[in-house]
């Protein structure tokens, strides 16, 4: 069968409309159940079937691709795709603007400079950090997911290894973020660096893993690999 451009457009439009109708229908059903039971989610419909995303797609129209730095004092901070757009605070509620301010302040305290980019081609924090390190004039980079998970990386290391990893986002504080900035800067200076002490909460998974999954879905659905890494001055 021959498929003209026009036919494809017609089909697409019909399908999209149908999907929209389905979504509205489903929402109406959920609302009805919620009304009847007085409290949404407690009883009634126990399926999210039909829902296709968490947040609408953000447009990065007009964004500027980040360039490789040449300043040997520079550390690139690569933030997640939903950072300060769809997600504004970490999994434990620390505002992302404060996170960024503290990492930057830590870097400056040690006499180095920082540059923030948004990573739109991966939401894996190891790769986010490694790509930032490769973009960075010093070869040291920091990756920060919107939920708060952070890695300090160096451009010539394997992707899944790192200089320092902070895997338990719910345990992070602003002080930790400042120390991360400081330590990253000390790696640039080639000092003998004492890694930030590990912290551990063995119940963190029970309390936070589902939220972490949802936040990661929000981050991942905002990826825009064509754009790669973009300048991010918020």
């Amino acid at each position: 069968m021959e498929m003209s451009e026009q036919l494809i457009q017609v089909i697409t439009r019909t399908v999209v409309e149908q999907l929209k109708n389905n979504e509205e229908l489903r929402n109406a059903v959920v609302r009805r159940y919620a009304d009847r039971n007085g409290q949404n989610g407690r009883t009634g419909v126990s399926s999210l079937a039909g829902k296709t995303r968490m947040r609408p797609k953000h447009s990065y129209e007009g964004s500027v691709r980040a360039q490789k730095g040449t300043d040997p004092k520079e550390i690139v901070i690569g933030v997640g795709a939903a950072f300060q757009t769809e997600i504004t605070s970490t999994i434990c509620g620390i505002p992302l603007s404060d996170v960024l301010a503290n990492v930057k302040a830590g870097i400056e305290e040690e006499g180095m400079t920082s540059r923030v980019v948004k990573v739109l081609d991966t939401s894996d924090v190891g790769f986010m950090a490694l790509q930032s390190a490769k973009l960075s004039g010093s070869g040291i980079g920091i990756g920060i997911q919107s939920k708060g998970t952070t890695v300090i990386h160096q451009k010539d290391l394997y992707p899944l290894t790192n200089l320092e990893l902070f895997p338990q986002a719910p345990l992070m504080t602003l002080d930790t973020y400042r120390k991360i900035g400081r330590n990253a800067a000390r790696y640039v200076k080639g000092e003998k660096v004492t890694p930030i002490e590990s912290v551990n909460d063995p119940m963190v998974r029970a309390k936070f893993q589902v939220k972490a999954a949802l936040m990661h879905i929000i981050e991942t659905e905002q990826l825009d690999p064509e754009r790669g890494m973009i300048v991010w001055d918020q």
Partner: protein, 554 residues
Amino acid sequence: MKRSKRIEALDQRAVNKDGFIDEWPEMGCIAMKSPYDPKPSIRVENGVITELDGKKREDFDFLDQFIADYSIRADRADESMAMSSLSIARKIVDIETPRKEILKIISGITPAKMVEVINHLNVVEMMMGMQKMRARRIPGNQAHITNLKDDPVQIAADAAEGALRGFREEETTTGVARYAPFNAMALLIGSQAGRKGVLTQCAVEEATELELGIRGLTTYAETLSVYGTEKVFIDGDDTPYSKAFLNSAYASRGLKVRFTSGSGSEVLMGSSEKKSMLYLECKCLFMTKGAGCQGIQNGSVSCIGVAASVPAGIREVMGENLVAALLGLECASSNDQSFSNSDMRRTARTMLQFMPGTDFIFSGYAAEPNYDNMFAGSNFDAEDFDDYNVLQRDMQVDGGLRPVTEEEVIRVRSEAGKAVQAVFKYLGLTEITDEQVEAVTYAHGSRDTLKRDVAADLMAADDMMKRGITGVDVVRALAESGYTSLADSILSMLKQRVIGDYMHTAAILDENFQVMSGVNTPNDYLGPGTGYRVDGSRWEEIKAIPHRIDANTF
């Protein structure tokens, strides 16, 4: 609304601190069956699989192709696929159908067919299936040996105590990645101080882990992660082929290897292709089988918070353990990650593997307090040792552990600590003081031990790698420091890689370094009166828990 005091009391219960979420197939948040899972189908032309679960060969992604080419016996496919899923499910539970016959049938089915089979089984039937399909005759157990400080002395002491308590494998990882060489070496030494023949591994970044293995500082590897969708594989810079290659790299040096997978990882990484957790896990397990790997660590593992959040999630976890056993793989059945605030719920989850027995019931029981568990907490920890021993005694079940005395614990912890101290001194690494050995010997966890100079340790660990220190150097250091018997044991572990028998499915070693595997000691369960039973000296050992009332002195 005026609140009910009953509901308020319930709201405060630990279980209500856990995360629960509704089924959401579009995001893969669905345990057993997604409306988007494919229907089983297969077409074989001239010995080549040209259609798999509704997909034509030209539409295969690399996982489909790998599975079609290496994981399914094309010569058995027509016969196996012609059987109904229900009849296969019934044979799995049937005590008249031997394990071997099931393995043969399963070798010809597809991942989607496997999903159908598992969906026919309730949890008790899954447990019956596991009791028959587990590869090794006797079940086993594995420990996590880690601490917040990455203190090598504590690693050695906890490893020694863990070995004494019956763990057949011990796994460490790091808080700070560059500590890996120290942790691996301390674990190797400590494990043999507790009980001979314990296998050890260091779970870190793959290239480092391989290097440590090649140098003889570990004796097996486990954290070769595989995933159920192409996208997640690619995100990790990997393919099924690269994993198969890595598996061969270990095998070439005589190291035991198992892969790691588990439901929920694709959801967490945001690429589930709308498939059920069980379907994606089946793809992982078929891939593992196709890569020629002897076994798998699975059962949601570190993503258990996701699987446990959805309806039938814990049933799915047991289901995927059973799939591993059905494919003839060694199954290290997780239970290694905390997922619930409720003691009742976390225990119930473990009973599914504990009662039938798996090759390794835990693929990481925290043999330290959970605050020191650097895998972010295990489902059971050192404070649960006595509970676990009592469960074995109550039900006359072999969970792989045994009661110990305080004197024995102190003795092996002290010996392990001193041995590591001697090796560090001989090899010119960082200093380990007598005070530290003493503190660790009597410690419960790292809150009771001394601080280490982390920066100096990391430089010494780097240096150790640069100098090319190997397992043989550890043997020499021990022998020349007067630890002859320990040196002998570690040398015997190194010899295993030349002998190679412990690369067979589900292999562990006894105290005389003799292999017990699914090949020389296969599971022969066929209903009441057959298979492994807890009796004789093992039962006497299990009975002898501490804190029994002595009727003679009452």
